[in-house]
């Protein structure tokens, strides 16, 4: 069995799987970082991902264009992000309640629309999913090349988004405004930044990323929609945001660790390590919890997180 671990194909395959399994988490975590940096915890993430997964699937199935499916998933994510903004920013409701409400609502809605469209077929409908693209030159690198650089286009996009979000947050005037809104909305307001608008836009853009993250699971990872397709990955993404201290790069590292463990458990099952598969499924989640215990003590939570902002509250 040891020999099988050291097998080149095994390592290469594991690296590839790490990237694939990390992709939806990266999308979702980046979206969540954007919203939390603006001071809104979006617990609607799990539901938004599921709606993204369903919408992406349905639109791809109906139109035959997989990119149209991705686009539709992003749009639905934006709509739900906007709904979150209406509840938590404009009405100033509790972010916990609004977010969980959206997850519950979206979970029901996703199944409802799917049933409306397909009824209850005995064999679930399938689509032609994304194909992996081998990058020229890079995929020819020995050992790591074939695994790392033969991926879905969405995975490559996720990779590009990590530095893009870092630059947005840390190198632009917009990013400084977002961070200021998230740290202290009063400060932002007194220097002329529109707090509500900033938070709304971040929720909308973040929702788009969450929707695409969900769609990856039905358009690339699998080729069908199942109600449990997200499987808690939205919550994992939130954990990775904390693990990564609200920093896109560090959260991505967390997502990769999760992807690695997820890939590993799949492979351990496939090479016939005899244990209940439930235990394998547990590994990434368990290690996420352990990692969080270690990291979260020195977490630099955006100081304005969870606080609705209204100007004319005396003493506020």
């Amino acid at each position: 069995m040891i020999a099988e671990f050291l097998d080149l194909a095994f390592i290469s395959g594991l690296m590839g799987a790490t990237m694939r399994m990390a992709t939806p988490i990266i999308f979702a975590a980046l979206g969540e970082i954007l919203t939390e940096r603006a001071g809104v915890l979006n617990l609607g993430i799990e539901g938004i991902m599921l709606m993204g997964a369903m919408t992406g699937f349905v639109f791809t199935y109906s139109s035959g264009s997989i990119w149209f499916g991705v686009f539709a998933a992003a749009c639905v994510g934006m709509l739900l992000g906007f709904l979150m903004a209406l509840l938590s920013v404009n009405l100033g409701l509790s972010q916990h309640v609004s977010g969980l409400g959206i997850t519950l609502f979206a979970t029901g809605l996703a199944m409802f629309i799917y049933r409306l469209h397909f009824g209850s077929p005995t064999v679930p409908p399938i689509i032609q999913p994304f194909k992996q693209v081998a990058l020229p030159v890079l995929s020819k690198i020995p050992v790591i090349g074939p695994g790392l650089f033969t991926q879905y286009t969405l995975t490559y996009i996720a990779w590009l988004l990590v530095p893009a979000l870092s630059i947005l947050l840390y190198k632009t005037t917009i990013g400084l405004k977002i961070r200021t809104v998230g740290e202290n909305p009063v400060v932002a307001d007194t220097v002329g930044v529109n707090v509500a608008l900033t938070r709304t836009l971040c929720l909308v853009a973040g929702g788009a990323l969450m929707g695409i993250g969900g769609a990856f699971l039905t358009l690339a990872h699998q080729n069908m929609f199942l109600i449990d397709v997200i499987g808690g990955r939205g919550w994992v993404a939130i954990a990775m945001v904390i693990f990564g201290n609200w920093n896109p790069l560090k959260a991505t590292i967390g997502a990769l660790i999760f992807g690695f463990l997820d890939g590993l458990q799949l492979r351990l099952q496939s090479i016939g390590v005899v244990l209940s598969f439930h235990l394998f499924l547990m590994i990434p989640y368990l290690l996420t919890i352990i990692a969080l215990i270690g990291v979260s003590r020195r977490a630099a939570v955006p100081a304005g997180l969870l606080k609705p902002y209204r100007r004319e509250e005396k003493g506020g």
Partner: protein
């Protein structure tokens, strides 16, 4: 000084209501270029509200505002900033986790479009620093700065935005005497350049010292306007409070008795694991008020937390009534007959979302007087609460009122009533009048002196030197966690105490 020119700011007929409270009623206010105008009044008199309206932070319900001769309609602070009005709030508007430079440039245009242009912002900042002598490292994170330095950042932030009408809300509340005089020098150099300053305060001495003109507000209305050269602190105090204040606190001679608090070789670490209190020895006796002076941040908070049982010292012994106190255990401190008045009434002293009554019994809710077998004795608690509300003249809708509906002075009275109800032999009062107005302060001072007459020993920790001098039988100065010096209250000189506070051993 062009005081006869057209005013740079003219507000007239300003009225502002919050729900059922009228914060400003038909207020008129003028500011001229090149002057420092003090806005004087007790807490809740409407000073800050009026200036928040000028800053565009609040919208007024009625009234007109002219800035530099032009009628303005301010819907947000950015409208005011663009007309040169800047405001520095009492709680600084800075992001603690960001650098000085980031705090200063946020919301301003960048020459590189959407990308931050920190290099040229830094140059502009350095030029401002040199011009006004406000030296701060632009790359320091704000949380690492002292409050005095943070205030300099706020001033730089306003200057960076070309503010020529600067509003400062209680700017000295958090400053050491030396920092205050630095600030005053800065303000004087600002007005010499033709800028104007509004200085909100309830501290009479400072107002007399820094301002050219004083506008007194009481209960939301302007009650008087004086040239500083033509008035006195005494007159201002009476105008502000609306009645004659006591000349000074009456205190009779009493010989100190047995020690009620004995601290031996106390060492305490702060949150950053650095020494906050080092080898401290201290004794407080019956019939005595020991005033502990010092600039905040020199270990006072940590010392009071140790006494209250909220923090464990790394070393040391504390004896109360000659019995050793179990350390790091709030329940032990309560049972030791210590009256505890923590410095942060909102954060640690009271539960703002519970009723006044529940706050009264917070420390003793488990005592046999208030419960039997886990069931609260409601009637006894009601009686107890009503008695305290009456005895301390606490202004509240009733014992069931939610605590956050009370004003600062009344919140302090709730804490005081709770701490004194059990007739403690030791009272530890940490910053007991911080942020309170003159009337409330006078009441708290009287009560503390009465407790001394009763025989209690009081450790009064305060960064307000007036308070220390008014009450203390003995004064010690805490500097970097050590006692710098000790002097009898009756004969101590302000100069000497001030030097000790700045760490000068003379």
């Amino acid at each position: 000084m062009g005081k006869n020119d057209q005013p740079v700011v003219s507000m007239s007929g300003i009225t502002k209501r919050f729900l059922d409270v009228t914060a400003n009623r038909d207020v008129s206010f003028q500011l001229h270029s090149g002057e420092i105008c003090a806005l004087l009044g007790e807490n809740g008199a409407g000073k800050t509200t009026l200036m928040n309206i000028l800053f565009g932070y609040y919208a007024c319900d009625a009234g007109e505002i002219f800035i530099k001769g032009e009628k303005v309609n301010l819907s947000a602070p950015k409208d005011a900033i663009s007309r040169g009005v800047g405001m520095i709030h009492q709680h600084f508007a800075l992001v603690a986790s960001q650098t000085v430079l980031e705090n200063i440039v946020v919301g301003t245009a960048s020459r590189k479009g959407i990308f931050l242009d920190l290099a040229s912002a830094r140059q502009a900042l350095v030029r401002l620093q040199e011009r006004f002598g406000l030296q701060i490292d632009p790359d320091a994170r704000v949380w690492t700065l002292s409050v005095g330095e943070q205030q300099k950042v706020e001033i730089l932030k306003a200057l960076y935005r070309d503010v020529d009408i600067l509003i400062m809300d209680e700017p000295t509340a958090v400053l050491a005497p030396a920092e205050t005089s630095d600030l005053f020098n800065t303000l004087r150099s600002l007005v010499q350049e033709g800028r104007s300053v509004v200085f909100i305060s309830h501290k009479l001495n400072e107002v007399m010292d820094i301002s050219d003109r004083i506008v007194v507000l009481r209960a939301g209305e302007v009650v008087a306007e004086r040239k500083t050269s033509e008035t006195s602190a005494r007159e201002l105090a009476n105008l502000m409070v609306g009645r004659e204040l006591l000349e000074s606190i009456e205190k009779t001679e009493r010989a100190p008795g047995d020690p009620v608090l004995n601290i031996k070789k106390l060492n305490v670490l702060n949150d950053k694991k650095l020494a906050a209190i080092a080898d401290l020895n201290l004794t407080v006796r019956q019939n005595e008020i020991l005033g502990m002076a010092g600039i905040s941040g020199n270990g006072q908070t940590e010392l009071s937390e140790v006494l209250f049982g909220m923090r464990s010292p790394s070393q040391g012994v504390i004896e109360i009534n000659e019995r050793s106190l179990k350390l790091g255990n709030p329940a032990a401190s309560i049972q030791s007959q210590m009256g505890r008045i923590p410095e942060d009434r909102i954060g640690t002293g009271l539960l703002m979302d519970l009723s006044v009554e529940e706050n009264f019994i917070l420390e003793n809710h488990a005592s046999a007087a208030f419960q039997a077998y886990g069931l609260m004795k409601s009637q006894k608690i009601h009686n107890f609460s009503d008695r305290l509300i009456k005895a301390y003249n606490i202004k509240t809708a009733g014992r069931d009122a939610i605590t956050k509906s009370l004003s600062g002075g009344n919140l302090q009275k709730v804490m005081l009533a709770r701490a004194l109800a059990g007739e403690p032999s030791l009272i530890v009062a940490s910053q007991p009048t911080r942020g309170l107005d003159v009337g409330a302060m006078e009441y708290i001072h009287q009560r503390l002196v009465e407790e001394r007459q009763r025989g209690a020993g009081i450790l009064l920790i305060s960064d307000d030197l007036d308070e220390i001098f008014a009450l203390s039988d003995r004064i010690v100065v805490l500097y970097e966690g050590k006692i710098m010096g000790e002097a009898p209250g009756a004969t101590a000189s302000r100069e000497q105490i001030g030097l000790w506070m700045s760490g000068v051993m003379a």
